[in-house]
């Protein structure tokens, strides 16, 4: 079981209100990702759930029991930190066994669980090494191993892949997703990387300045963003926003068109290509459109346009409409 419920949770540091008040329900077995820009309060929210920070007010319930004032160890949660936070003076075996030792588990059971975790995480050959003798990816696996042996109610991940290089990050991302599928335990994952959020989450929680902007499945957020912030934050490159006469034609204050929903060739928007990036699989171009401004376009495959070319564009997908307050119009 790993249902977590936050009711009116607030956190202030002196006069700074990092979390002004949050209500959130995380169901058992869900993979929930907290995403948002730097300083939006996502790590603080995770630390409040972990018990590493005290709430200013509000309640945190874990499996129906009030855990607001429980110390971290009594909450039945396990956490994987960005810096791995391994114990450098202990071997991998002792690192993984540490929470079991603290729980007073007998040695035979400790050994059994450590061996099992090591097998799952491909660490069997490294059990007698120290963290300093491991690569970044292996260290992260040890940190995950230390979390899974406890069989917690939920796993908390605080930007666990940020310290890894790009190639390793993709691999570890998949490993964590597979782990979730096999363990079926609740996972809360904090990241500022929306690709991680989109690919791993059952449910994404988009945070901005300590407030929840929207909660939903990845494609729900992509297709139906509730406001300009979510529309701009989810999707890469970011959604194009157009105001003025062009928006008025659609009875909106602002319209949003995703770069991948614009076709090149014929259309009502005409402009000059500024920057063009050709990746083979995709082409990214910036076009300065007359009367609208700079529009980002993402084309599949090779778009044969270059700097200085005059081209025409047309919206070729959903046009998102927003009112003057930035909220989406039906």
């Amino acid at each position: 079981m790993g249902k977590i419920e936050l009711t009116k949770v607030r956190k202030s540091f002196g006069d700074v209100h990092v979390i002004p008040g949050i209500d959130l329900e995380i169901n058992d077995g869900e993979f929930v990702v907290f995403v948002g820009p730097s300083g939006c309060g996502k790590s603080t929210l995770l630390r409040l759930i972990a018990g590493l920070e005290d709430t200013t007010s509000g309640t945190i319930e874990i499996d129906g029991k009030d855990a607001t004032n429980l110390p971290p160890a009594k909450r039945g949660l396990a956490m994987v930190f960005q810096s791995y936070a391994l114990y450098p003076h202990m071997t991998v075996r002792k690192n993984i066994a540490f929470p079991l030792k603290m729980a007073g588990m007998d040695q035979a059971e400790q050994d059994k669980r450590v061996e099992r975790a090591a097998k799952v995480l491909n660490l069997a050959n490294y059990l007698d090494r120290r963290p300093g003798q491991l690569s970044g990816g292996q260290r992260q696996r040890v940190a995950i191993g230390r979390a899974i042996v406890r069989e917690p109610a939920a796993f908390l991940f605080d930007e666990p892949l940020s310290n890894l290089d790009a190639a390793l990050r993709v691999g570890m991302r998949q490993e964590i997703s597979e782990l979730h599928q096999s363990l079926k335990t609740t996972m809360i994952y904090v990241t500022h990387d929306q690709v991680e959020a989109m690919t791993m989450a059952d449910k994404i929680v988009v945070l901005n300045a300590g407030n929840i902007e929207q909660v939903g499945a990845p494609l729900e957020l992509y297709n139906n963003p509730r406001n300009l912030f979510v529309a701009g934050f989810i999707g890469s490159p970011k959604m194009n926003f157009i105001t003025g006469a062009e928006a008025a034609k659609h009875n909106a204050h602002t319209i949003g068109v995703r770069p991948e929903h614009i076709s090149v060739g014929d259309g009502p928007w005409e402009g000059v290509v500024g920057l063009s990036e050709h990746l083979g699989s995709d082409s990214f171009i910036k076009v300065d459109v007359n009367g609208i401004g700079v529009i980002n376009v993402r084309g599949t495959g090779e778009l044969h346009v270059h700097h200085g070319d005059r081209i025409k564009l047309a919206p070729a997908g959903k046009i998102h409409r927003f009112d003057a307050n930035g909220l989406a119009l039906a």
Binding site: L52, A73, L77, M79, F81, F98, M102
Partner: protein, 276 residues
């Protein structure tokens, strides 16, 4: 920009370092040489750097005239005891200051250190009277407490510096893993800070070993350590420089040997945190 180390610069710095080292070491060298001279040669004018007739007589006489093993044992108990007791108090204090600092933590640290600037003689009378009332005069336990209190600011400062280097996330991880505060300090913090704790221990043993003011003021015979042993050779009948030197050499030799073998650890300890 880093300056290039040319052979000439290296030569100059090497000569300068040797010169400074010799100036600092010279009194110790002079003392050791004097301890092997006759009393007449020790007070000769002009001074004799090398004596005409070397002798071991001073050591033999000092050994015969006093109970060196008892003074030595008292020094060991007092210096090691005060350091261990100091660590027992300082580890939790430094932990609190490093990991759960308050608004005034820095001020508190500065205040603690400032007590080291106070002349010891300023608190001599109250401390002496306090020791007298408590029956602690000329007891090893009394000196252990007194020297622990004298060196506590330095022990806390040094440990605080080491603890600050330990990432807070590792301690948080241990808390998530179910470690109690005691478990966190014993299983995670202490083993990680062990090199720092060892340096702090060594330095404080040396400081306590060399302490002369309180050890002489607060002892008479029973608990007197080696500092009092040296002082006992400056007799009212006159100064016997050769014997005084032999006694001094015997008093500093154990700590000199300890310092020599642990110099790497000591240097690391004293410069830790100074360069990042």
């Amino acid at each position: 920009m880093a300056r290039a180390v040319t052979p000439r610069r290296k030569l100059i710095t090497t000569i300068a370092a040797w010169a400074v080292a010799l100036i600092i070491f010279f009194p110790v060298l002079w003392m050791i040489l004097t301890s092997f001279k006759t009393e007449a040669s020790a007070v000769a004018n002009p001074p004799e750097f090398l004596s005409a007739d070397w002798t071991l007589e001073n050591y033999a006489e000092v050994w015969a005239r006093s109970d060196y093993p008892r003074f030595f044992w008292n020094s060991v108990v007092i210096s090691v005891g005060s350091t261990l007791l100091g660590l027992l108090v300082a580890v939790p204090s430094a932990w609190a200051m490093a990991f759960v600092p308050g608004k005034k933590t820095k001020d508190l640290l500065m205040w603690m250190l400032s007590t080291k600037m106070m002349p010891a003689v300023a608190v001599m009378i109250p401390l002496y009277l306090l020791f007298q009332r408590l029956g602690l005069i000329d007891t090893k336990i009394g000196l252990v407490f007194a020297l622990m209190l004298m060196n506590l600011p330095i022990i806390i400062w040094m440990l605080y510096t080491y603890f600050k280097e330990i990432p807070g996330e590792i301690l948080e991880a241990s808390r998530m893993d179910g470690a109690s505060l005691w478990g966190e300090i014993v299983h995670v913090l202490t083993p990680m800070a062990l090199p720092g704790i060892a340096s702090t221990m060594l330095l404080n043993i040396i400081l306590a070993w060399n302490e002369a003011f309180w050890t002489i003021v607060l002892t008479t015979t029973k608990a007197a350590p080696l500092s009092a042993f040296i002082a006992s050779f400056s007799a009212p009948q006159g100064l016997f420089y050769a014997k005084l030197s032999a006694a001094s050499a015997m008093a500093i030799m154990p700590i000199l040997i300890l310092g020599w073998f642990s110099q790497k650890q000591l240097v690391r300890g004293l410069t830790f945190g100074a360069v990042k």
